[in-house]
Amino acid sequence: MARLAIIGYCQTVALLNALGSWREALRADAALSGVDLNAPTGWEQVNTEGKLYDLCVDEPYSALRGSRFSLLNPSVPPAARFAATRGIGDGQIVYTKALETFLAQAGASDVIVSVMNGSELYSDLLWRDFPDFDCFPYDQDQPDLPPIDALYVAQAAQQAASWLLATLIVMRQALPNHRIIHVSPPPPVLGISPERRVRPSLQVKWYRAILERIRIDTQSLGVELIEVDAETMTEDGFLKPEFADGETRGNVHFGRRLARDLLSRI
């Protein structure tokens, strides 16, 4: 038996869907907001700020009874794009009331599970209006694209992942003796909208650069990392369509793989 305290937002849904029924826990708050929870993304309209809900787990995951979850909702002001932290600089991390509230209550749990900062870590880089480029491992058919050295790619990845690092630092400092497990974001989905204008192979390279950064940061903080199950990915490193929900999220099948890996660690 292990009681989890799960925190995250959009990417958390895949895991929660796999573990059991969680939307019911939001029912009261949804009613207050006049939100239809049956809509696929209806929960995003619910004010979940700073709340820790009981998770009703299904039978295969009965070992996780007593677990709770907190959804940081980026659509609810004043939560920022990176919902747990608002500012980083000069050694100071300014974080949200929601994270503070979560951490104050999470101490009663056995394991903290972070599903913080998912695909936006790399998608934020992808969606920028950069001139096209290439980086290691280089595509053989793109000799005319400027090659960006791995040093600069790693620096950009570090900058992009700094928000996640900040969140994990806050968690580690608040709960120094707790096990903290971070869940890797899913890779980009093959066939992502053409208007993104980013070559598919570059999308995967960005993802891998971010992932490498996450590996370094989690290791330095003593945070365990659950990496994406290789079976959910194509040979080229994309999320297989049968595990995808939209362009950047995993679906319930993806969530089940996560739940299985999570359970194996508890």
Partner: protein, 355 residues
């Protein structure tokens, strides 16, 4: 009546030099061609002095083409090497370096991939070891950059209307096994000197001439309208590998290069020479344009050369849009590029005392 009676005053030393105010001397009275500031696009390459030339050209409104530019992902303050020359080829001191680069860029010969690791673990391209100060994370990064670089050099040569090449040295180091030449002796900046592989070679007059003729053939095949302006760097040698004094080697090297340039101008309608070497190093200047080390050229010397260049070579003005696959250097020249000017000479590393 004899021919000398009808020659213009610039052809007589006494009338054009002796007793003349320095600024009034006409150093370049008979240019083969002049340039239009509004329409001509320049590419520069060569020794350290070419950096001065490119910078001063931009500062005065000239259109210097930049074939390799910093991508937004690369931090501005990184040692990326952009903006020193039109492309990141580093110093091309010798005619052999130029020929080999142009041959590879044009696809006449296969690209040469020779990468070495610095003590800090970073990889560098042995053929341009300081062109990218940050170096590369891996051999694969260095290789990709060289492939891209050669493509951009090709685009540059196809796009520019004027290619300015400053001849710097005849002394070179070559790979005896594979044949390629180096901008600086292996082991000085990076890599390991291996006497079984690396050999000193002082290019002869004939070799320099052949190098340039081969280069011009390729340049014209790439860009039939290109005009080539040769200059000889007035910067003296840091060190010589010949068993003789550095002063003697400097004069020998510059003399060979100057003579080669003269030969080229006579043989090639699209090639001309601008006498920056004579302006700085000639007796009329009394060495006044040399820095305290009597080797480097002072900033006022560079400016004087550019004054003369604009006086005799530049017509027109304006800044028409360039229909070119390469971009133009920002105006004014970026501060970071100016600061690098004095330090981006590979040759300086030959003397351990002046590093």
């Amino acid at each position: 009546m004899h021919p000398y009676q009808s020659f213009p005053r610039a052809q007589f030393w006494r009338r054009s030099v002796t007793g003349q105010a320095f600024a009034d001397i006409d150093f370049d009275p008979a240019p083969k061609f002049v340039f239009d500031l509004g329409t001509d696009t320049f590419a520069t390459a060569g020794s350290c002095f070419a950096q001065h030339f490119g910078r001063a050209l931009v500062d005065r409104g000239g259109r210097l083409l930049i074939a390799e530019d910093r991508h937004p992902i690369v931090p501005k303050d990184a040692g990326h090497g952009y903006g020193v020359f039109s492309a990141r080829y580093g110093n091309l001191y010798t005619t052999r370096q130029l020929r080999e680069l142009v041959q590879q860029a044009a696809g006449v010969t296969a690209p040469v991939f020779e990468f070495v690791q610095r003590p800090d673990g970073r990889w560098v391209d042995a053929l341009r070891p300081r062109a990218v100060p940050d170096g590369f994370s891996s051999e694969a990064d260095a290789r990709a950059d060289r492939i891209f670089h050669l493509g951009r050099v090709r685009a540059l040569l196809q796009s520019c209307t004027v290619f300015v090449f400053t001849l710097g040295l005849t002394e070179s180091w070559q790979n005896q096994r594979d044949g390629q030449s180096y901008g600086v002796c292996p082991g000085v900046v990076a890599g390991t000197f291996d006497p079984e592989i690396h050999a000193f070679h002082n290019l002869s007059y004939v070799e320099c001439l052949e190098d340039l003729y081969t280069t011009f053939d390729i340049l014209l095949a790439l860009n039939s309208g290109i005009r080539i302006l040769l200059t000889v760097s007035p910067v003296m040698l840091v060190a010589t590998a010949e068993a003789r004094g550095v002063v003697q080697s400097s004069v020998a090297s510059k003399s060979v290069l100057r003579a080669v340039a003269d030969h080229c101008v006579r043989d090639w309608p699209n090639v001309d020479y601008f006498p920056s070497y004579e302006i700085i190093a000639g007796p009329q200047s009394r060495g006044a344009f040399y820095d305290g080390d009597l080797r480097e050229v002072r900033e006022d010397g560079v400016q004087f050369v550019m004054n003369m260049f604009f006086k005799s070579r530049i017509v027109g003005g304006g800044s028409g849009a360039a229909a070119s696959p390469v971009s133009e250097a920002p105006e004014p020249w970026s501060v970071e590029a100016v600061q690098r000017v004095k330090t981006d000479c590979d040759e300086a590393f030959l003397d351990p005392d002046v590093r």
